[in-house]
Amino acid sequence: MKVGIVQFPGTNCEYDTQHAFAALGCETQILWHKEDTIPDGTDLVVVAGGFSYGDYLRSGAIAKMSPIMKALKIYADNGGKVLGICNGFQVLTETGLLPGALKRNEGLHFISRHHHLKVVNNDNDFLRHCKVDQVVNIPIAHHDGNFYIDENGLQELYAHNQVLLQYTDASGNIDNPNGSVDSIAGICNKAKNVFGLMPHPERAMESLLGSNDGRAMLEGFINA
């Protein structure tokens, strides 16, 4: 399994992501934003978290103009699997590979803590090892994680099982930290090959560090 990890100026989760996938036995490669092709044989491209271009203009807005994003769009359009984590999710919505947008958190604060999430749909590669309604504990760390989509778009997401995760408490009751529509923490595209979420599964790989719930999620991509 070969995983490419996109790196923009200001990305800061690429090595955590690399460590996480290496721990799962994957071959990994960092892809600098000026690359204009995705290497042959790449099974998954991760757009890692951080603050690409300092979040200037809007989170993910400048990153979407990079050569690697044009290549990534072609890769995704041909069925290649893409995972955007945190800033990566913002980049994917800005690029139009995922619907909706990420706004400033409703409370205006940067939020950095563990948060519970409920699995909404598992008929996809990412969450196939999780159960529907299962509650996982994954760190969040963002300023612009307030997922917005209009009413029609929201109905589309539900109609095609594209809502992946919702923010909840430990019992699975909705607990919305940032004002996201329907407390949505992660979604996928209709074809179910592009995934995005604000929480950081790559930071939940060791129970010694608080949680290893991210492991089963990332393992979903292996041998999928």
Partner: protein, 81 residues
């Protein structure tokens, strides 16, 4: 030379949390007559263009491509010759 002034604001119906917070702060400081506040951004672009309509069309393209996220934002363009 031409100057384009682009104002970008959240669409009506998309909650402007910053505007609400500024409104709350102003009200708390005795500015009781304030009925609404919106926070947006202004982008000023200098261009080597001579035709006003052509300049405006280019700036509109820039807004659609990069300067605004039209899922959540509206933009207005003013050209100063």
């Amino acid at each position: 030379m031409m100057k384009a002034i682009v104002n970008v604001f959240l669409k009506n119906g998309v909650l402007d949390s910053q505007g609400k917070a500024v409104h709350h702060a102003l009200s708390g400081h005795g500015f009781g007559s304030v009925s609404d506040v919106r926070v947006g951004k202004q982008i000023i672009i200098e261009m080597n263009e001579s035709d006003e309509a052509a300049a405006k069309e280019k700036v509109a393209h820039m807004c659609e491509e990069l300067l605004a996220n039209t899922v959540i934002e509206d933009y207005e363009i003013e050209i100063q010759a």
